[in-house]
Symmetry: D2
């Protein structure tokens, strides 16, 4: 994914609404959230398909939550019109925490399930991208 | 809306995952978020249709953000399997803040646009339902 | 739920974009989709919590699909600005079919699980509201 | 984006639920829908920020619809557990049509707005990926 940065450059307003935040941090966060949302959806589905699905309930649930929160964050971060620093910072901070909890759960199963390993790695990348944008907006 | 409470009663696990939180607080928050998500979507669309849409950009943007965050929160709060108190609390706290910002924006236009008045009221109810669930989970 | 009709009345444009469709049919469809999306999310979660979750995989999957499609349809139907009859009709027709498949799955488990009974009923109501709006837009 | 194919390979079930459909067609459709959803969200926001936003209402509306439908389709297509060929085919067919309408709208503004050009191209790619999966599932 490298489309978000190209798209941000076409916006009539400066990215981050004049807050001076690095546009690349916004683009990285938007793309990491979109990718994490999709991979968490796929990991929940793969966990549900495992013969041991009953033992994967916590992972399925945290994957579903992570997918929903990351999908919302991907959209909010992508918007530059009437940018509200406080709102974006509140959301990326919450998203970072929720990604951290979901990544921890996936990592428990990473040795046994490749989908959990791949998803856990993407969720950690998303957590870091959210934390970096949060700091940039502080 | 009164369906969420009836549905929670059918779940095989106790609502709130044994945290002892009042199921009614969970149901109210889930329903308030679902209603706010839908009304914010409609308010963004009505603002866009106004002859003065250019002056309503901040309201359209905060409505769209609020709709996305409330839709995600409605889903997360509705799930009782493998309930993670910390994750739910983090999200409802963020949702309450974002609802507060969006309600404030709608209230600025409430005297001129009935959609902003109705949406602002629903968004305040959602903010309060999130705050009450946040306190119940503390 | 009765908020959608009140909100439609505040829109600067006529509901249905001058297509002459009954606003009540639009409001009913938007509310039925929003309710079905929320109940399907809750039913998927309740199925996942059952001791027999392994046998409920098809139901969990169709609930998750139904929730996603109904959530999107609730938003599209709710928008009246630049109303495109063909787009709305295509989507509510697809939503009706997908609701039909999900309701059928829930009905298989209705005798054993109250969440499947409640969700199946709401999904049938949503299917009908989509079919009625589809016919009204034909 | 090339993550969806890698993730599909880790699923305990064969992609497409034994329908024999090429997994690459599923992966391409899931990724194209996820990318189109994100770019349409960004295009709606960029259109709203233009000095000529009032003339971009149809484009904003079709972008928002396209984002919602593509986000739902990205999730449904990504799920392989209890794969229901009829449901997936119905949804990708609807998504292809709605992408077609949205791309047409973006293309009208492509000469004046780079965001509409980029978004229109991604939406056409998504339309084609949906059409190819629809044919593969026929």
């Amino acid at each position: 994914m490298a489309y978000a940065k190209a798209m941000l450059d076409t916006h009539p307003d400066p990215p981050g609404g004049g807050s001076g935040v690095d546009p690349a941090a916004i683009a990285r966060c938007a793309e990491a959230c979109a990718e994490c949302a999709q991979l968490s959806t796929m990991c929940a589905d793969a966990c549900l398909g495992e013969p041991t699905a009953l033992e994967m309930r916590s992972c399925i649930r945290s994957d579903l939550d992570c997918a929903d929160v990351c999908a919302a964050t991907a959209r909010v971060v992508a918007r530059q019109t009437a940018f509200d620093t406080a709102v974006v910072r509140t959301l990326v901070a919450a998203c970072a925490e929720i990604c951290g909890a979901s990544a921890e759960e996936c990592e428990r199963h990473a040795a046994h399930h490749a989908h959990c390993r791949i998803c856990g790695e993407a969720t950690r990348r998303c957590q870091q991208a959210c934390e970096q944008l949060m700091l940039a907006l502080a």
